[in-house]
Structures are given as C-alpha cells and as structure tokens.
Subunit: 683 residues, 2 copies
C-alpha cells in the first residue's frame, strides 16, 4: 500500500514480475515449480517459453536449453480471494498474500502501526508436496531488467535472499532454501550445474530440497524500495523511507511480522467471503482492490504525508475525476487520504478563471474557483494551478479542460468526507472554499441569474475558446461534452444538495438556500429534459441529441452516501427528478440500447466504450438507491463484466475502458474500486 509497486502474475504463457512505478505488469519471467529427479522442470505457466538466453549476448554459440523434458504445469486450481491469490495442484501450491487495511492517520497514529502499514512487502508461500519416491528441487525465481546482489549479512541470521538495485528483492527464512542467480531457472538448474550465484544473471531465486514423500513449505517476502527523493518539481520521498532504512530492512521486517500480515490477509478474505454477493462480484472487488493499491503512493514532503493515487497505465497523479470515484473505498479505510488530496488541491492545484458563452467566445465573465484535472504525471508534479493533462484550444476533445466537473468533484468529495468523518475542523477551515465553489457553479451555469438552468452552460477561458469535457474524455459527446450534459448536470445537482447540507451545518443559511436553489434548478431542468418519445433524458440537452446514458443516475450516490436519503427519495424534495431517473434507467438498460449482447452494461447507447468503474457505481445506484432488482439478469451481467476483466484485460490486470468486452484504454487501473459500494447493499 502506497509504494506504487506491483507483483503481477497469473496470466498463462505471459510475463509478469515485480516492479516499481510501472505502467503495466513487469515483463519478466516468473519461475515457480519443481525439478524432478530426471532433471525436468515442472513450471507454473508464468513465463513465455523461449529457446534463447541472455547468455547468448556474451557467448559465441547458441545456447541449447535442452528443455525437451520440461513441462508446464496445467490443471491449476485458482483461489482468488480479497487478499489471497492461490494457484494449486496436488504437487505445488503458490500463494500470494497482499494484506490491506486501514492506513493509520500519520498525524496521530503510533509509529509501530504506521511502520506496519507502510512496509512495502508482499508475502508468498510456496508448498511442495512430493508423493513420489525420488527427491525434487522446488524453485522460485524472478527476472529483472537489471542485475542482482545477495542480501548476505544485511538481514537476520537464517534469512537469505537477493535484491536488485536496492529497489526490488526477496527474502526467505526457510531453513533448507538456497539462493541462485543465473540467466534463467533452466540454466541454474541444469543437471550438474554448479553456478550457484552467477552475478551476471538477470534472474534470482531460491531452490529448496523436497525429499521423497515430504511436504516442504517456503515462506517468502517480496519487498520494494525507492530511496531518496522520488518526485520532481516538488521533491518528496516515499513515506516508508521514514520507517525503513533500506530494502534489507523491509524484507527482514516483512518476514519477522509475517504472522501479523497473514492475520490481516485472513481477516480481509473472510470479510469478502461473507458478503452477500455472487462470486463474480466478489472477483471484481478483489481484482479492483489489487489494482488500486498498486497505483497508490504514500509520500513524505519533508513535513507531512502526501497521498497520491496514480492513474494506472497513465501514471497521472491524483486525477481528480478518479478521486471522486475511489472516495468510497478510501473513506472505508483511511479517510485522511481523502482529506489530504482535497487539501493538496486547494493549496496547489486550484485556480480562478473566467468563463465565456460558446456563441461569443471573446466576451468573458467571472468564472470562479476550480481545480485541475490532476497534479502531474509520472512523479513529475505539475506547476501550481496546472495539470499535466489539460491543454487549451480543444473543443470538447480528449485533453481539453475538465474545469466544471473537477469543481463538482471537490464539493462532492468534501461532502462525503465530512458525512463519513464528522470532521468539523476540516469543514470550518474550508467553508470559504465551499462558498467559492457555490459561486463558481452558479457562474458556470450563466452570468445572468435569470437564465440559469442548473447545468453547465459557459466554458472556462482555460480552453482558449474551446469546450470543456468530462471524465468520459474518450467517449462521444453523449458523455464527453460538459455543456448541457445530464451526467454533469447530475453532479451539479448533487453538489447543490451537498452544499446546502454543509453550509447549513456551519451556519451559512443564505448560502445554503442559494445552494438548494441551484439543486432545484438542476433537478427541474433534468426532469423536464425527459423525452417521452425517446423514453429517456437525452444525454445532452441540446437540439438533436438522442443518446441514452446510464450515468445520468450516477450522482445520486453522493447524497445517498452522505445519508441525505430524503434527497434521493421519490417522496422527497426532488421526488420528480428521482422518478424520472427511474423511468430513464428502466427504459435504457435494454439490449440494443445500453446493454451489450453478453449482458454487460453499455454506458452510452451511442458509443462502444464502457467504463468498469462507472458501471460498478451505477449498478450500486440502480440497486441500492433506486431500488432496481435485475433478477436473474444480474448474474449474467456480473459474469460478463468479470469476463471482460479476466479475458478482455488478461494481460493488464484490472482495466477500466472496454470496447465490446476488450480493454483498450485505462489499463492496469485503480478506479474500479467503486465496486466497494456493493458491500453496503442490503444494509
């Protein structure tokens, strides 16, 4: 957690491995298996079989691996729990444990709790069951792009292992294990090989004797470390460097505290197993959780912790339209990270702009506060008030500004954060920001109060005369354009609802009423937008648009999660709006509109580009907020979505964007943890 580190494996005949700050799985071989007495290697399929060797770069001859007798183990059983991933045959069990849980607030927690939480380590258990009558050798090995060094005397007595560049490594305290370093496991385990630790090799690992008739278990810690300054422009280090002097210490600590970590693992596994969800849903939650943590970065700026979630393969930092989705996951475990991001946004990545009417781009009016799309990319913090992603001059295209949506995101995050934590100190300190946000929302609607309709109608001058987009940047205008968009309209409505609540709480009665009026306008416009002929609210309330979009309902989640149940009730003040959204959804979740043939959800009727994180969120809203029951179709839909990830994103772990079930963007992504909301259902 917080190390922007990953150990990715599982796809058959594919590469994987350990890596830091990657945009995808590490492209190396993972060697797990055992050698029988005939010299044959029996390996789990976590590598791309090859007949060449790194050794050939050095040698004149071609290396003949003579691997004719080797075999890839098939018929694996896989158990994929919330924090445990286990591959098993009768002969071998390979278990990867990725415990996770609350990250203690670094401003108040005890050092030991912080140390335990931030230690960048993954736990592996290898078990070999040799029912044969001859001795085997079990092995585990990892490729790196670099070279290895042995841990030697830098760890506790009895611990062995190897590290590469002091940045990734493994250790074990298994009494019978021995390290190896070589070009490959085939070369290390050649009959008669005496290479031992061959420092030119790019693979290091362990070999363990497995006597006939015995079962041998090997405990391994896989550790990560990046020392010193890790980010640029704003120089920060990883938080774990406050608690660990280096990788050897991490590995040592990981092994010494293995039981504590495995207890956390078991707790999480049990928790998800007990949930009233089907197996496909549990899979999706477990898969998303790993991908989320692999993108997280717990940094230290010299004075305090800074929390960053990187945007999967793109590695944009704290992309705000992801923060607002991952909010629910983070508030469950560590609300301080949400507060941290909100504060960073105000301090470094807020700005005040002007707005203009697209019909007359040269005349500007006061805009107000908003926030950038992100805080930088690939460890490069962007300059104050700028994102890495947004550029001017684009009219509703990818890379344009998301000014209005990010404005709603700050309000929505702050509202849900306060509702879940009751952090009045935060609320008091940021009341002025909330007031600025309210004014900014109104100004983006229209400069003439009489012409406001509760949607976004004016564009930020940061677009240089172009047009803003939403988080659905690579979708068509049905979800990609901000102006008059009903998805964004929903978020503006929710912002109004939350602002009313927050500002009342701090005694700003007038402003609270103003916020309520904003919400009323949005609800009214969206309700009126329902097209009886179409049977839904068209995505963009502009002449001619006839796209049906599921995320029209998305923003209901915010009042609901704030406990403002009245606001999302058909009997409440926005009852008409809620009723219309029910009709909207009921009419579009249909084959040929917003359902794929396989039962998967299609967010927009006019685009083949569906986003898993948003599907999960909207499913929660449909079921839990709007009371939909999809009956037997639910399992079919969940199966489709799980298959999209398992098959359609096979080589990129958990991905967000799918075209007809095939991942084609936002790969290796953190955002899909919106599915955490499913655990609230039925409560």
């Amino acid at each position: 957690m917080g190390a922007l580190a990953s150990f990715t494996c599982g796809a058959h005949n594919a590469t994987g491995g350990m890596g830091l700050e990657l945009t995808g799985p590490f492209p190396g071989a993972i060697a797990v298996g055992y050698q029988t007495s005939d010299g044959a290697l029996h390996r789990l399929p976590f590598f791309v079989p090859s007949h060449s060797s790194e050794a050939e770069r050095y040698r004149e001859e071609t290396i003949d691996a003579e691997a004719k007798t080797d075999r890839i183990i098939t018929g694996l059983e896989r158990e994929f729990l919330w924090a445990t991933d286990r591959f098993a045959t009768p002969e071998i069990t390979f278990t990867v444990s990725t415990p996770f849980g609350p990250l203690p607030d670094p401003e108040s927690a005890a050092p030991d709790a912080l140390r335990f939480a931030c230690c960048p380590v993954v736990h592996v258990t290898l078990r070999f069951t040799n029912d044969s009558t001859e001795a085997w050798r079990g092995f585990f090995g990892l490729d790196v792009g670099h070279r290895w060094a042995l841990l030697d005397n830098r760890v506790d007595a009895g611990v062995i292992g190897a590290v590469s560049e002091e940045s990734i490594g493994f250790a074990s305290n298994s009494p019978s294990a021995k390290t190896f370093i070589d070009f490959s496991v085939e070369e290390a385990l050649q009959p008669g090989s005496v290479r031992g630790n061959f420092l030119l090799g790019n693979m290091a690992g362990l070999i363990v004797e497995v006597p006939a008739g015995e079962t041998v278990e090997v405990a391994l810690a896989l550790g990560f470390f990046r020392r010193g300054t890790a980010t640029f422009n704003r120089e920060m280090s990883y938080y774990y460097t406050r608690h660990f002097g280096g990788l050897a210490e991490v590995l040592n600590y990981g092994l010494a505290n293995r039981d504590r970590y495995l207890a956390v693992t078991a707790e999480r596994d049990a928790e998800l197993a007990a949930a009233s969800l089907n197996d496909e849903q549990k899979f999706l939650i477990a898969h998303a959780t790993r991908s989320y943590y692999g993108s997280t970065q717990w940094l230290w700026d010299g004075t305090r912790s800074v929390w960053v979630v990187n945007e999967g393969e793109y590695l944009m930092m704290n992309t705000f339209d992801l923060t607002v989705d991952m909010l629910f996951f983070e508030l469950r475990y560590n609300p301080w990270t949400v507060r941290n991001v909100l504060e960073e946004y105000v301090r470094h990545y807020s700005f005040f702009d002007q707005v203009f009417d697209p019909a007359d781009p040269t005349t500007t009016y006061p805009g107000g506060i908003s926030f950038t799309h992100d805080m930088g990319v690939m460890n490069h913090w962007s300059p104050r008030g700028r994102s890495s992603y947004e550029i001017g001059g684009l009219d509703r295209e990818c890379f344009s500004h998301m000014t209005c949506e990010q404005l709603t995101n700050w309000v929505l995050c702050a509202g849900v954060y306060h509702a879940k934590t009751g952090d009045d100190d935060f609320l008091n300190r940021y009341t002025s920001t909330l007031l600025d946000c309210l004014e900014s929302l109104e100004n983006r609607d229209h400069h003439d109060p009489a012409r406001r309709n509760g949607l976004m109608n004016l564009e930020s001058n940061r677009t240089d005369g172009g047009g803003e987009i939403t988080t659905y940047d690579s979708l068509d205008h049905s979800l990609g354009q901000s102006r008059a968009n009903i998805y964004l309209g929903g978020k503006i409505w929710a912002s109004g609802v939350l602002l009313e609540h927050l500002l009342s709480h701090v005694g700003h009665t007038d402003a609270a009423q103003q916020a309520r009026a904003l919400a009323d306008r949005s609800a009214a416009t969206l309700t009126e937008g329902f097209d009886e002929q179409l049977g839904f609210i068209p995505a963009v309330l502009e002449a001619g648009n006839a796209s049906a979009i599921i995320p029209a309902i998305e923003a209901l989640v915010y009042p609901y999660e704030c406990g403002l149940r009245d606001a999302v009730s058909e009997d409440g003040p926005f009852g008409d709006y809620i009723a219309v959204l029910k009709r909207h959804l009921a009419n579009i979740v249909k084959p040929g509109v917003c359902l794929y043939d396989d039962g998967g959800w299609k967010l927009s009727s006019s685009a083949d580009n569906s986003w898993m994180s948003k599907i999960a969120l909207c499913q929660y809203v449909a079921r839990q907020v709007l009371g939909f029951d999809f009956g037997d179709d639910q399992l079919c839909t969940d199966r489709a979505h799980a298959r999209w990830e398992r098959e359609g994103s096979k080589l990129q772990a958990c991905s967000d964007q799918f075209r007809s079930g095939i991942a084609h963007g936002s790969l290796y992504y953190p955002r899909i943890v919106t599915s955490i909301l499913w655990l609230n259902e039925g409560r």
Copy 2:
C-alpha cells in the same frame, strides 16, 4: 566524461537520444529540422517514421498525423572529427560537440578545473539558413521514456529548457527560442496548434523563428544527472554531485562555460586532424573515443574518487582485460584513473588461490595472488574477491575464470603506469604486490621449477576443476583457452620483462633476476614453438593445434610503451623471439589465413570472430614495434575496419566483436580506444 551517459544519434531512420547507464543507444526519436510556411516538417533522419502516436493510448480515435507533406532531409554532409560531429545541408547545420581532455587528479587539482572536467554536459549547435521568402520555424526535440518538466526559474535569466526525472534535459539561452512539450514534434507543430507545453508529452524541445532571408543559430546544452547513491553493495555517488547540486545547475554551467568547452573541442579536433593518419584511421579513433567516454563512470565513495569504465552493452565494471587495453588512452590523459583501478583491484578484488594440473584436478598446489575479471555489473559492485562474470565448473568456456590473464594485466598496467608517470610512491607501496605477482606467475607455470616453460600450465582451483579462459572468451580455443596459449604466453613474457625492470628499480635484484628468468623461459618456449611446416607458432602449444593467431605479437606493446626498446629488438636479449614473431606475422597476415577478403584482419585463422580493439593494438605492434609496412594494403584494411563499424555496427555505435564485418557482440563498447596508440607512430 565519467557520467556513464550518452547522446547517440546519426544512423538514418533509426532511434537515438540521451540516456544514463544504458546498454545501447536510447530508443527514442530525435527531432531536428525546420517547418516551412506550408506546415511541412523537414527533418534530419534521426527517427523511425511512424503513423501512430503516444496520444492514442489516451484517445478513442486514431491520430491521423496528416504528415503527407513532411519530408526527411537527405543529402546530408557529415563531418566526424575527434570531438565534433556535424550534419549539414545548405539549410540546416546540426553540430554535436563532445569536448574531452585530461581529467585532473581529484587529489590535487583545483576545484574549478575539476568542476569543468566532470560537468555532465554535451553541447549542440543548430544553425538554420533560410534563403526562402517565407518564415520558417526551426526545431529540436528529444523523446524520453518518461515525462518532462520545464526549467522555469531554476536557471539564469534568459535560459529555458526542460528536464525529465531530474536526470536528463536540455537548455538554451537563444533569445528567440521557446520550449515545447508534446507527444511528438508533428503534434507540437501542427498548423494552428496552441499546445505549448503539454505535460503529458514524452517529447520536449525548442522552437525558434527563422525569418525569411535570415540565418539563426541556437546554442544548446544537453545535461545528465543522477543524484544520490548510484551504486549498490558499495554505495557511491557520481563525482559530479560534489560540484553540482542538480541538473539545472549543470545545464546553466554548461551554457555559461560554452566557449571554454568549445575551445577544448577545437583543440582536440585540430590535434587529430593534424595526425599523420589516413581518414579511415582518424574515423576509427574518433568513433572509439566517444564510445569509451560513454562507458566511463567517475564515482565518489564518500572519501575519494573511484574510476570505473563499464563494459559497453554488458556494463561490467572495470573489466580488467579491458583496462589493460584502454591503459594507453587513459595514460595519455589521466594516469590517476589507471592508478585508481589498480588500487581498487588490490584492495577489493584480489585473492590468493590454489592451482592444479588438469591431468589430476584433485591435487592442488600453491597458486598465488590474482585479480577478478571485473568489479561488478550494472552498478552492483560484486562482493570482495569476486567478479560478476566468473563462475566455476566450466572447462575453457565463456564465463570461466581468467585468473592467469588478470594476473598479467595487473603487472602490465602497473608497469606501463609507472613508466609513463614515474610514480615511485605507487611503486613502493605496491612492491610487495609485484613480488606476489611474480610468485603467482611462476606457480601457474609449474610447481616443479624444473618443469616450468614460461607459459601457463596449471589451472586455478576457482574453476572447480574446469579450465581458465582468456579475454577472447567467445573465440575458439586458439585464443580462448589459457593453458599453453601463446597469446597469454606473450603476456607472461611481457610481465616478466616489466617485473624485471620494476623490481630492479626498487632494488629487489634477486627477484628482478627471477623475473628475467621467467621472461627468458617464455621467450624460449614461444620461439621453439615456431612450426616450420606451418610457418607460424600454433596458437596453443599442444599436440594438434594449427591455428594461426595475430595476437601472438600483442604483448610486445608493453615493453615498448615502457620504453624498454631493447626487449623488443631483434638485436636485444629476446632477439630470437622477436625475429620469430616477425616471421609468424608475415606468414599469417594473408588472405585465407588471418585476412578477410575485404582486407580486414582476422585475429585467428580458425574463428570468424575478430575484435576491433585488438586489431588496432596488433596493428600498432606490427607497424611500430616490428616495423611492418603494409603499403597500399593498409588503406584497404583501414577502410574495411571503418566499414565494419559504420555499416556492421550501424545501430550500436562502436563495437568490438565482428563476424565477417558484422558486429555480433561487445556492442556500444569502450575498448576500441587502443587505436590511440596510432598517434604515436612515426615518432
């Protein structure tokens, strides 16, 4: 110099770029050219034309570069001087300056001289000559694997530029230049593009207005930096971090001191231009020099400087059998680096072993001191007394031990170092090491003094019963096997000659005589080895060997460079040996034996694997020591060798190992600077 950094470009339709600690050229696009008023880009061919864009990872649509009007500039003139590489057409001149010269001894030099020498910067000059009647935009851009940040206020007023990861970057003080960051130069310079600095982009560069009828020149500094601890196991930083706080400071300093650097460049260029060598030879020297410096690493261990030359694509550190070849280059400029490596070898990478007769591998006898093959790989220092390369259990195969040859290498380096510097302090401090070396050489000949013949006959027990190899590790036994090898025999002879001289100098008369006796034995055995029927000394003095090898003469260079002219004279004490070597060489530098059809030298008649560094060295010995004059054939041979590098190693800069003129190993290599010796010829 000393930054293990490279800016590689020049191959057409190929990638290149800036990089740190690489095993080959950086695989990015280099954008150099100008945009005419029709929007067309005119680019030097330093990129692989492509129709895809990094932007496609983010966007739904395919990016249509619409580059139909773009054109790649052809008809380039190239001027490749010792420190200047210039590409020119009438419209554009692109000049890369890589000044080099003496690295001052860090224990005695003034800080300013050290700062100037260690500054990790390369200088670029771009000149645009616009004879048209419309304005152009000139550009320069570089791809990285990461992302960019602008230098902003971190440099002198008027300086602009961009850096990536604080590790590579560029700056300019050209008044009219502006920075850009984008996915590519095509996207940055789209007509009407207003992107400016788009922080998601992986290319950054400069754009400069070139008004009609004007010539505009842009000065650029390209800088490198790696902060903090750079090496592992033994933690060291780059020496330049003692003088520069970061990359911005490096770039600023580079620009501010540009004139001083260009003066050094001009001095080197003039020096090589004035040499009595043909153009092919000058090319080979200039090419080798760049490849050498790109492999060098000037480190700081917290107390003192540590010099490392990395082994090209393999990045092994201070490979000793390269040190002994690069010795002549280093002694010309900075003898302290040679001393530094010799001292590191004694302190950390020396050992005492046992030896055995291959006929009876289990009986061992005293061996003696020797040195490891290298000190580690890819910034991983290997443990004390171990190399990264050598492993036991191999019988005269790649990766076996080079114990005897490395022993001769310490002696030969120490001898030449002392001869060139007169550093008696060093000699006094290491006399005991030289005595140990003498004893070790004798013990590796034979434990029974009566059976010694001046060659290596016993194997180190570090081979675990295998057999030692020479630096020619991927050649056949003619050069690859150490035992009874006449190439290694020559180095043993030269070690004896140098030891006699050194030990006399420090008053160890008996030991000096012992050394002389060793040299006498070697010379006698090698002389007797001449096979009248074959017309040469067979490579290995074992029954049946009939390979002819050029490096039989190689070791003559050491006494010669020590000024021990008598030792290499036909009229001197080893006159018979010298006369035989002359006959040997005269009989084998012939087509079908040790000449390729193109006139290139084939080091061994029995292997198609010729090494450029050794060819250069042996050519020097042949001409300068043995007095050969190859007449018109010389130019043909030089042309062949230059062609091997230019065509056969087109994408890997300067390489060492060639198979029939095609580089196939030891790519991007430092060792070829043995050609520096050619500058001594005729003196």
